[in-house]
Subunit: 272 residues, 2 copies
């Protein structure tokens, strides 16, 4: 089921600025246990992202009602809900007087089949050659300009490697193509800063919150490839996959360590 | 009139990767004097851009026929033709096996009203705060990830300033929000390199070709704001506006100089 501005419809105008310029933002939400997980956090980020891009989005109540409707329509136990908000339709040209009604699209999708052993044994990652641009104004925002991720994710098609690591133009590790990354060093948790490149993931914020509340030290900092290679534990996370321990990056092996296992368990309790 | 994959239609699926990720490219072509100007150059760049993004676009003959059809349908003397090619429809997720049919969209739009004095007296520009990211893989390509241009162009709404200048993250002048930029120093023409940021415009290539053939020295190089402020002449160009001499950038004034006037005249002869 797809709702566009409240109507069952799965097509948008070619004049929509989302298509023309990637002029919009999106959220990807897991539907599990009868609810859209961390919905408030996703909506808060969505509204905040609209503000940051000066998208004049006022239909927050309508959007909430439409997400409810989509959830009620779901037959499956698990699904993925995607919300996209664009600056709406416009003529040609980058300028917008923001008078157009933003386009809101809510769609449900099948939940991906994730092998169970990914969470118990960990996943194998690779390094991507495609870099992430540095742009302080756009960093952190889950906007629709995602060509870098597309190019990075299409560097490989080995189904045994479910994720790749992206670095910024200066060589610092930033995130996965679809996930955020954390490392453990001497029982402390670190994750890359995402104020110059990368996305501030909702699951990333959840992990930071859970760790902090559990007395695990968490810090955002620059993470080099060397620090990554020397880490005691590594994991990636996003709203759909939850947490995936990392068992290998290229030829370097990592254990599924204690802190990762603790966070996995704490997260699964949060989600209930 | 709009044609999507050959059919009169102005709506695309929300699953189109052009909307989801800005995963596509576009061309903006002036229709004047009964023809789509520099059509071959635009098509060459479009096909080349698809190759660079590994979009498996094979419908080149169909696209040519559809552009002809759009041109024949035009009642106006002047118009703008936009061609967009995306990687086609896909599920959720950045990965694509490139098996989907790319989406080709050809649309006609009204030609913008451009005051005549822009070409005779020049235009006033401003500097944008929004920077252009540095990304060697994407630089040069006219792809659909255009949020930086959107944010830059929306920094002002003074109708007497038709264009703004964008710099890269290192402070070098790269281009206008919708145009390329040239400067004249001691009768020689210079334009910023666009291999790390910016778009390699079709009109930019035309200007370089016309100048070179006319014995005017042209060089691509880094252009600092200081070099811009000390230039003898400045102009911007794109396929729709042609060449606009620059009369002022913020408070700095420039003459509409001899080389700019020569190129304006030479270009208008090319277009006939």
């Amino acid at each position: 089921m797809v709702l566009i501005n409240g109507k069952a419809n799965d097509k948008i105008s070619i004049l929509d600025r989302g298509l023309q310029y990637g002029d919009g933002v999106f959220e990807t939400i897991a539907y599990r246990n009868g609810k859209a997980e961390f919905l408030e956090q996703h909506l808060t980020r969505l509204f905040n992202s609209c503000d940051l891009l000066a998208i004049n989005f006022k239909q927050q109540n309508e959007l909430r009602a439409e997400v409810d409707l989509i959830c009620q329509s779901l037959q499956q136990e698990q699904a993925v809900i995607k919300i996209t908000v664009t600056r709406g339709e416009g003529g040609r040209g980058y300028f917008s007087d923001n008078s157009a009604l933003p386009t809101r699209i809510i769609s449900s999708h099948p939940h991906p089949d994730i092998p169970e052993h990914y969470q118990t044994d960990g996943v194998r990652l690779r390094f991507c050659e495609q870099t992430l641009s540095i742009n302080s104004r756009l960093a952190g925002i889950k906007h629709l300009n995602r060509l870098e991720q597309v190019l990075a994710r299409n560097e490989w098609d080995d189904i045994d490697i479910p994720e790749g690591i992206m670095s910024d133009e200066e060589g610092n590790v930033i995130e996965g193509t679809m996930s955020n990354i954390f490392i453990v060093e001497s029982d402390k948790l670190y994750t890359p800063v995402v104020t110059r490149a990368g996305i501030a993931g909702v699951m990333r914020a959840q992990v930071i919150q859970i760790a902090t509340r559990s007395g695990i030290s968490v810090q955002e900092r620059e993470i080099t490839k060397k620090a990554l290679s020397e880490a005691d534990e590594v994991f990636v996370c996003n709203s759909v996959i939850g947490i995936w321990p990392v068992s290998a990056i290229s030829n370097k092996l990592y254990p599924v360590g204690f802190i990762t296992q603790f966070l996995l368990k704490a997260l699964s309790e949060c989600e209930k």
